[in-house]
Every structure is written in C-alpha cells, then in structure tokens.
Symmetry: C3
Subunit: 327 residues, 3 copies
C-alpha cells in the first residue's frame, strides 16, 4: 500500500466516531445493536487494512504516546498477547503487570494499585481477574482512564464474544436470524454470558447445550433455548461455538469421565456430517483436542478457529481505539 | 502544544547540564544541595512539560536508541513500572529482567550477570536488591554504564526520597526550614534513610517518630530528632511522611498488635484536626489502610499520595536523563 | 555517523541476499560454508556499524512493523535478552511469552499455541525448549512464519555456535585450519553439537575433551578427535571453548567431586602458560568461576568471554534479518 493510501486509512480512523460514547468496555450487557455494529465495523477495517494488508508494516500510530497497562490476575497467553499486540499496532506503549510480583502481596487494595498506576500517566487498563466485577470496581474508582474487561470470573469476556461475532459475520455476512449453539461448560463460561448478550442484541437465536450439571434450565430466563442433546440440534444450527471444559474452575467434576463427555458432546466427523453444509465451527480456545472437538474437525474446512485469533487482535484494536479516542 | 514548542522543550532538555557530573544515582548520601536541586528542577520540568501537558503525547525522545535494563531482585509494582514508563517516555528501550528466571539460579555472580547484559549494549541498569550495597557493587564493576538504585535492602531508595521532596516543594515552594516527620517503621526503611539525607542537605528539620522497637535513639547521630509520641509532635510538623509497616522484613514483631500500633501512630481525622492547617500528608505506598493511615485521611485534601506517584515518573525521568547524558 | 551514512548502511542491509534461502534457523547441521559465512559477515557488519559504532543510536529499523515472539520454555537470561535486544535494534516489536503462565498449563499443544500466536500476526518465533526437536516441530506446523532455535534440549543452539565462531574469526581472521577444543560437559551440551557442525563445515579441526563419563568415544563418528586429558592437548590448540558443567541436566553426577573436575579440567594460569601465545579462551556462559575456569583466566587478556556476548546480539540480528527478509 503506498504511503498516500496509508495516510488516508489513518485519517479515516482518526475521525472521531461520535456515536461511540463509552469510556470503558466492561461487558456486552447494555450495549446497543448500533454500538456492537460500530465495534465490529472498526474491527473489520483494522483487519482488512492493517492486519492482513499486503506489504504494510501492520502498525497505525493512532494511539502514539498512550500507555496501556495489562493487569492480569489470572494466567493467560492468548488474550494477554492479543491485547499487547493490538496496543502496539496502534502505537501505544504496553506495560505488563504481573499480579504475583506486585504490591498486592503487601496488602494493597486493587483500587489503590490501579489509582497508583494511573497516576503514572496510564491511559487504559486491560483487566483480567477471577472475581466477577473487578474491572467494574476499578472503572468506578478511576477518573479519565479507560478499563477494558479481559475476563472477570464467570461474568463477561466481551472481546472474546466480539471476535466470535466478527468471525460469524465474516462467514455469513450477518448475525441476525442465525441460530448459534454454545456447547459445553456453560456454567463456568464468561464467554457464554458475553456471547448470549451480544448475539441476542444483534438478533440471533441462541441455544445453550451441554450436560444438565453444566446447563441449568434457568438459562432460559436470558432468552435462550436450553438443550441437553447435541445430536438433537445438529441439523438446525448455523454456528457451533464449542466451549472448553474448564477443569480449573470446577469444584466437583460435573460428569463421570472426559470420555463420556466426549461421547455425548464432542464435535466429530460423524456429527459434522449431520450438520448444515455451511455450518461454522468456532471455539474460544485453548481447545482440548479429543474432548469438545476432534482434531479433524478442528483443522477442517468448517472450522474458523485460527481465523478467530486474528479477529481477536482486530477487535481489541477497535475496542482500545474507540474507548481511548472517545474523550 | 504545537510542534515548534515541542522542539523547544526538547532542545532545552538537550543542553547538557554541566553541573551534573554523576554517572550513577546510588543514594542521596553525598549529593550536594545543588545536585539535589538540579534533579528536582529537571523533574519539575518533565512533569510540567511532558507528563501533565495537555494534548502532547507524553514522550520526548531524549534517550532514543538507549537500552535500560530493570534488574529487580525483589517484588515491585510501582517502582518497576514507574522506571519503565520513565524510560519509555524518554524514548529508550526498557528490558525487564526477572531474577527468578535468570542464570543466577545457575550459580552466576551478580557482577557477571551485569557485565554480560552490559556487553549486549545496555546503557543503564535500574537495580533493586534485598542486599544493601548491591547497586554500588555492580556500579563499581561496570565501565561506561549507569546504575540507578531502586532500593537496596534497608540502605537507600533515592528516587523515592526525591519524589517525596518534589511533592513537598510543590506544596510549600521550598524545603528549607520545614519540619518533616517520618513516622513508623524507621528501622527497616530505606525510604527513611534516603529522606533524612536529602532533607537535611536541603535544610529541613527531620523528626523520626515511632515505637522504640522501630526507632532507636542512635538515629539522633544522623542529626534528626527522635520522638516516640506522634501526638506530641502534631502541632509543629509541616509534613508527615507515613511509612508502611514492613511486615515482610521483620524477624520479630515489634509491637503487640496492629491495632495497638494504629491506636498510637495512625494518622486519622482526630489527629489531623490537631495538625497545622496547611499540613501535608505523604506516604511512599503501598499504604495499609487502617494501619498507618485511615482511609479518610489518605483520600482527603491534605494527602498528596497520588500526586507523589506522578512525581515518581518525573523524578526517574530526570535521574535517567542526567546520569545518561552526563557522558 | 551522519544521517547520509546511516542511510547507506541501511540501504546496503536492505539488499536482499539472494544466496540466503532459509526461512528458519533450526540448527547448524546442513548449513553450507557459504551460508555460515553469510551469517557471520552480516553479523560482523551489524556489530561494526550498529552495535559498536560511535554516536549512533544502535538501531536500524529493517524489521519495523514486524512482531517477534520469544517462546521460552526453559529459564534464560542472556539468550532471551540478547534476542530481545537484537529484535528491538532492528525495529521489531518483541513479545515475551512465559510458558509458566500460558494456556499450555490448560492442556494446549505447543503446535496449537504457536499457530494461535502466529494468527495474531507474528512474523517469527524464537524458541527454547528442553525437548530436542521442538523448534523443528513448530516450524513444520506453521506457514509463512520464521522459527529460530534458541536451544532445544541437548540438540542444537545454533546462534551460540555462530557467536563463538564470529569471536574466533575476529581474533584469527579465519576459522579454516584452526584447532578448536570443546572442553567439559560434552554429553549434555547443545552448544558442543552446534559448534562441531559449524566448525567442521568451515574447515576447523575439533577436539572434544573431558572425563569419559561426559565424552563418549562415539563422538569420533562426528569427525572430531576425542581426548580425556586437557593437559595433553594444551600446546596444539588455538581456541578453547570451556563448557559449563550443567548440573541441572545430569541425572547422576559424572565425577566424584567438583574439586576433582576442576583439578583435571579447569583452565587456570598454570595451564594457560603451556598454551600457545595467541590462544583464545571462550565460554558460552554463565561461567562457574573456579570450576571450568579460574577468575584470573576468565578476566585475562586471552579471554573473549565478554566480547562473545556483544557478538551474540550481532549474530541474532543477522539471523533474524536474513530469515525474515528471505521471503
């Protein structure tokens, strides 16, 4: 891409999107269809014009001079690295904060930690915490600094749901009217909660499917269909989002064995053959090969698992850019 | 700020301050009043013109192409992040070194580690170590590379004392003639030692105050007043610097209970009412709310605790810039 | 160096070296003499014109906009930091990945981890792993992304051998015809394996020397001479490469005591006096002072141990630049 076009792209992004009013991205609950669409549109533009454009250097210095701190209180590879790359692609300085080596071990509160770091001249926090509501708590205590939720307990993981929706929209051109099944460990899944909120707002039908120990019937109150049989819903679903069994969050094992779970809920070639011809298989990862998905399906043509990861950087660039440019 | 003014700022900083001769900042012991004032003046300029200037990107590439390594052998959030941000704001590359994953676990000496890293083309080390004198040891073994002490055992923490002094100077316009009380865990505090040296050189009166198990009468030999009663000194102190009780450094507990310590030494609303109208409350943090300070005082109008953190970045920018530009 | 000359340097490096066809640097096995020489020539140029040039800022943005991920599954200071600095000097973004905090602990395969990170828009992986072949495994699974081996078990450590060879060439002007002795823990040494391959290809005579528990006679099959007596080979060796005893890799201790090992194999003043006048002493480090080398020899005029470290950054710049510019 010649320099003149790069400038044009940069200038276009720099137009402040007046429809976007939010300082924080704490969850998809409460976001309007227009806000969700704006996020997805920006993410698509970043993907097309920066991330996958030939010959460019994949950087656009929209956030030059800004400082973003990754405040991760849970282990993470992909989300942390994805946010880091998104911030750097936008020209920001990204500072990694490791909870294990911090003053929190000296008894400091999370709000004091965040206020202190902010006072060093930080423009945004990306927060992952095992306690639902931690990013909201920090956002309420800071002034003039953006907070992006990178996963809080079993509550929300908005950028994961956004990248899932972007992947769906790329394949089908729309989200409205599609039937999306979230399969697996719904009970412990912040990804499920964020997906339900975003997908419903954009007009999709959502099914949550898994063993009854992981899918309570009360989920129907969120406006979704509950199913305990994957085989029963195969023919009528457009998108399967296969959630990982989160052994690390479970206090008691919710099924007798992994083998039994895989027998009933793994997406494999036999089940794929009963799906629609254009079915889309996505998974938030890291995937457990042979548990919720067999390797042939994970690596097959219906899968967009790797594509989701690229969309993740694009979505995070959009979220950072919109929240930080809003002021 | 228009580009032309940015250039002017940059050019002004680039004038080599010929009065500054030091390659290292190992402690405040031995620094002259002129050197301390130069550090504070530069820090104030960085704060005014880079850190809190409206509309700028908060970067000034005075150390472009330089590499700074953070060698931290003790846990730290704020000091490490503050030095990282200071280095990046000056355009340097900042490399984080984690002692836990290093060759030191293979038996290498700290001097060999530092010499090796320096040979990679490193211009400065920021060192925190639990052993007093470790930064001095490294500084003596390296040639042409700056060493900044980020806290060595109970010895010195010069940039913390500088940011305390900058905060005091911002509030009162001077340091000379003020009475500054350091309250709490004096015995284990490198912050106290650095503050005493800097404050005395700049003409302040210093009181160290705390239980006798944490404040030995021998401190008087450093030219400070020793007091065991916070209540007795309240009316005549201009600045209270409330040190954290460093439980992690104490071999035996120096008082019967935290509650008793707080009863005698916590700065609370009742005590604040007996202080001077313009009293300044600072604390090096992380603060233990309810121990050395109550939340209402910490968050009240006399407190400059958050302001100190911003000053910390400014002071570290000044120290890095002066030590690295000296050659 | 004036800007015009900087540009010339930059332009010269930017000429794609058509003789270099490799996407990955997985080991020195199989590299031709021409390829090895090209790597060393580029490394020498980076050293002369960027790393040790007076007055420059030691950066050349040949890889601007590229992202490099350090995937280290073993502890490392010097290699990790050296690759980080090499990447940053070339203008790339370098992302640190810590295996301990990753999704690998959630059961993800290393290939899935690498594929996922690549999908975020990563151009190169620098991989260290305790399993021989891990970098090859990842290289075979990725498409369009370079992999550089930073040490895989006891297999290869190509950039360490390249920096050793660069150091030898700087001292003697050539490698062909020299006699190079690798002394010590040959059995556990990936450095020995890479050195043997590179040195043999460039025409050196190689001796492996150490106790029989660490040097099997089968090494002769690689075309090297095997010796169990350091004293016997002293007078005819041009270069001694003193390998560290890797206690952390040994299941059973291969000699009765460290003292006995040092008595027979340490390079000390007494042995140095029996060496050639122009003998060169190198060591991959971290060195165990008093075990394989005495402090006076390590810090003496025949030693190039610190120089090796600077060459390490230069060699890694060359490897990154060649592999990434190849496409």
């Amino acid at each position: 891409m010649p320099v003149s076009e790069r400038n044009t792209v940069s200038e276009r992004f720099q137009e402040v999107p007046s429809r976007w009013k939010r300082q924080h991205l704490l969850g998809l609950e409460g976001l309007s269809a227009e806000e969700l669409t704006l996020l997805l549109d920006y993410a698509q533009s970043f993907r097309d014009e920066i991330l996958t454009a030939e010959g460019t250097n994949r950087k656009i210095p929209l956030l030059g001079g800004k400082a973003i701190v990754n405040l991760f209180f849970e282990n993470s590879t992909r989300t942390r690295t994805s946010f880091s790359l998104a911030g750097r692609r936008l020209g920001a300085d990204v500072i990694e904060f490791s909870a294990g080596t911090s003053s929190l071990s000296k008894g400091e509160t999370i709000i004091d930690t965040a206020r202190n770091i902010q006072a060093m001249g930080v423009d945004a926090f990306v927060i992952r915490h095992n306690c639902p509501g931690a990013p909201q708590l920090v956002a309420g205590a800071l002034d003039g600094c953006s907070v992006l939720n990178a996963g809080d307990g079993t509550h929300e993981h908005p950028t994961q749901a956004l990248l899932d929706m972007l992947t769906i929209r790329q394949r089908f051109g729309r989200i409205e009217g599609l039937t999306v099944a979230l399969v697996g460990d719904i009970a412990h899944s912040r990804v499920a909660r964020s997906n339900i909120r975003g997908l419903k707002t954009l007009g999709a039908n959502v099914i949550v499917c898994g063993p009854s120990t992981l899918v309570a019937s009360q989920w129907e109150e969120l406006g979704v269909e509950v199913s305990y049989s994957l085989d029963a819903i195969l023919p009528r679903v457009n998108v399967f989002n296969l959630l990982r069994i989160q052994f690390e969050r479970q206090v008691v094992r919710p099924f007798p064995s992994i083998r039994e779970y895989a027998y009933l809920y793994a997406m494999n070639a036999r089940r794929l053959a009963r799906c629609r011809d254009d079915v889309l298989i996505i998974a938030p990862g890291p995937i457990n090969r042979g548990v919720e998905i067999t390797p042939d399906v994970a690596d097959g043509s219906h899968s967009a698992i790797i594509d989701q990861v690229t969309n993740g950087v694009a979505v995070r660039m959009a979220a950072l850019w919109l929240c930080l440019s809003r002021r």
